[in-house]
């Protein structure tokens, strides 16, 4: 099977004097995988996720996602790449307060200039699948943490991305909602969605992924396939 994501000797420094946030990381991920990137705070796992999403640029090394060499993309090309290839889920949801649920979900498709009718149909389907369609006209401030994250997942899936990147997706919700979000992500992965999950919790990594990459001080400490994840 050909790689979906490949990193070759990727290093990211924010300050030349300080230690790199990501140091000489090389790895490969495959379509349909559910990979957890695990490590303590400040280990470089979120930086790694940002580099894969082309939201930041490495100091050195090469990053491939599909056929795109993402570290070489211009800002415009990177934005188009994110629309097409990446769905992002954040710990604090990052929903837009002044837009309703449906408008938040529709936004990636609208920015990608998708046909309005097609986009609305897709958004409705996603809200149904994620069991949030009854709140489609609510504003984010009126939603619970779990509901907000389900809206964020719907928004991330709107353009049918090749890979779903989740940065501590259960970090800002209560336990029950966390379980629910985790289960949703597993369902999506089971349906073929490639998933990269960043977490500092070994338990979460073990339950919701099939491969765990441990990061420490910006370097890969271990890369371990799991069996029976989420089961």
């Amino acid at each position: 099977m050909s790689e979906l994501i490949r990193l070759d000797g990727v290093t990211k420094r924010y300050d030349n004097a300080a230690a790199p946030a990501v140091a000489d990381v090389s790895l490969a991920m495959y379509p349909g995988e559910a990979v957890a990137i695990m490590g303590p705070s400040g280990s470089g796992k979120s930086t790694l996720l940002n580099l894969i999403a082309a939201m930041d640029r490495p100091t050195s090394g090469a990053i491939w996602v599909g056929d795109d060499r993402v570290d070489m993309l211009s800002e415009t090309a990177a934005a188009r790449f994110r629309r097409r290839q990446v769905g992002m889920i954040f710990q604090f949801f990052n929903l837009l307060d002044d837009m309703t649920v449906i408008d938040n979900v529709l936004l990636p498709a609208q920015l990608a200039k998708a046909r309005a009718s097609v986009a609305r149909k897709r958004a409705s389907e996603l809200l149904d699948v994620l069991r949030i369609s009854h709140r489609r006209d609510a504003y984010p401030a009126r939603l619970s943490g779990g509901e907000r994250q389900r809206v964020a997942i719907a928004r991330a899936l709107m353009n049918k991305p090749a890979v779903l990147l989740a940065d501590e997706p259960t970090g800002a919700v209560d336990t029950a909602a966390g379980e629910e979000i985790g289960a949703l992500l597993l369902e999506l992965n089971a349906a073929g969605q490639t998933l990269i999950l960043v977490t500092h919790s070994p338990d979460l990594a073990a339950r919701y992924s099939r491969r765990v990459i441990a990061i420490a001080d910006g370097r890969i400490a271990s890369d371990t396939p799991l069996r029976g994840a989420g089961r």
Partner: protein
Amino acid sequence: MSAVFSAARSAVKGGGAVGGRKLQAVIIAVVLLASTATSVIALGLLVNAHGPFDRAFAQRSGADVTAAVDTSVATRSQIAATTRLAGVTAAAGPYLGVLATARVTVPGVPGSSSDSLRLVGRSSPDGPVDDLTMDEGHWPANDGQIVMARGAAVFTGSTVTVGSNQLTVVGIAESVTGTADGWVLPAEVAALTGRANPAQAQMLYRFANAGSTSAITADIAELRAALPRGALLNNPASYLSVRQSEESIIAPWVPFIVAFGLIALVISVLIVVNVVSGAVTAGTARIGVLKSIGFTPEQVVASYVLLVAMPALAGCAVGAVAGNVLAEPVLNANAHIYQVGALGVPLWVDIAVPLAALALTVIGAVPSALRAGRMSAVQAIASGRAPRSSHGYIAHRMLARIDSLPRAVTLGLADPFARPARTMMTLVAILFGAAAVTFGAGLAISLDRVVADNPNTALPVTVSLNRVGQGQSSLSLGQQHSVVSALAAEPGTLHYLTETDGNVSLPGLSESASVTAYGGGNPAWSGYTLISGRWYSGSPGAAEVDVNTPFLTDTGTSVGSAYTFGSGGHRVTVRIVGQVFAPGQNPSAYMSAATLAATEHGATEPQEFDVAVRPGISPSAYANTVSGVLGSSYQASLSGGSRTLNAVLALIAMLTILIMVVAGLGVLNTVALQIRERAHDIGVFKSIGMTPRQTLAMIVCSVTFIGFVAGIAAIPAGVYVHHGVVPVMAHAANSGYPASLVSVYATWQLVLLALAGLVIAVAGALGPAGWAASTRTVFALRAE
């Protein structure tokens, strides 16, 4: 207080990014600089327009009214009785004088010139009224000596010949209200008078109540009533006319500069209010921290006021200096008029204007600073960032439904609804900026028409005799035939007029009127626009004239009036049939050659041919061709242009651009605040695929609607200001105005001008929008 100062200073130094307080400080400083400079120019000119004349008038006991009395009608005792009238506070005279045609010879200058002079007999330059200032030389000590008024093209040693009497110029003096062209000893007057030029008595009065035209009119009516009927020759001269005439060079500049200054000040205050309000909104957490470490509400208020006051003070100080530098050329022109040495912006203006601008700024900042002071520490720290109001949600919702517009555009269009107060202030700032553009453009068109409605433009080529250094000479009949033949043979000739220039005395007034007589065609070809009435009829015996506004004002006549010209002892009554738009200090009359001949009591040959060329023909090339045909005895030259008006046009352009920049800075400030507050949202947009171009479009669109609305609203506002200021300028220039000077806006021009608001908005937004568009997604996402 040092803690407050330190907090304010660190706040200014703190933000380097777009929306940071460093940028806001720069914006405050620049807008205050621009508005202070404009206001200093405006007030400096305003003060100097009146100051020098009033000062000189008071110091030299200038005459409120200068009257000429016919001594054959009023007796000496009747004249003396007028000095005891109730309203008269001081009087001088009667000084016997004479209106005489004189030949003036200046040593070293070949030939002599002929002029009509009002000569007055006075035993000394001093007096209770109209205390003369000796510029050079001395007062006449013997017969045969004369002191000439300042401004005459003579100097000591020149000779003035009246009839067979030769007078030597022994001094130059100035009368603040120009009561005479020259002064001789009283005994000399008898020798200068004759049947053709009888003596008149000049009376100079100061009145208790002379502050307005109506008061002066009442004073003159009192004089007229006290004298026998017909004794008071025409309308006595009022110092107000002289003052208005003296000021007419600088005064027209003042109204539009004042208008620009006020617009700049209003925009500045709006921007400052926006800056401080934005700083408070964006700095909520900082306010909380300041309070938690012991800042009292008063100290928080003081720190926010200082945040604005420090850059504002710098802007005001530099603005005052800039205002002085920019006002200097205009004031120098004024100083030259009054010959009062150097004129400068008064010190009190340099102090008062920056202080007023600073005070307005601080007052504008106080409400927002008070809001910061009232905020509780817990609330401020807990929120961590500006509490987002729920304004604009409906707009977002509705605009999201418009599928025909790109989503980035609808996102931007919804933005102004999130902060209605800030949007309104930005809208008003753009409105004022765009109104200044409409006003400035209209003013430029009006002044362009002043240039166009001028003989120099309508008749750009002048053909006359080539007599270098010998003054202008009349063309003989044979010479006129030669010129006519040459012009007729030249295909570029459109039409031409003959022109004869001269002066005629205005009985009862110290000044004379310049006369232009056109012949050989339609006087409307002269290029002058009529304010009212019609052009004179050239038919023999019509005795009709057109005059400019100073003529009507100074002589107290109106269109339709009959008026008697005097030249020497010769009097001719003409009818005024039209008012010509010819701004200037002096009265002018326009008549046919036949009427001039009657007025001058003799034949008057033209001095030049004024020629209009066909469209597409270069006046310069035409003049060269005609010169070649006529030979070296003649000269065909281009009529002069107007450097003053070009300077005014440049000033208008500069002030308009300055105000556009200030309004643009207001937009920049608003957009910068918006980006600062929405930095995180912009990061989210980018993370889900918004391209830099879409980001740019979104941010620019957030002000385009405001700019569009402001641009539309600015049209009536700008037109209103233009329609208000142009008549004031014309009045200050001692002139009426034709309707064409006010109705200047074509529909297509208004449509274009309506886009000014949009241009200001987009130009102001592009900088910060470009910065936000190019910001890396991760950086934007981390921003709070």
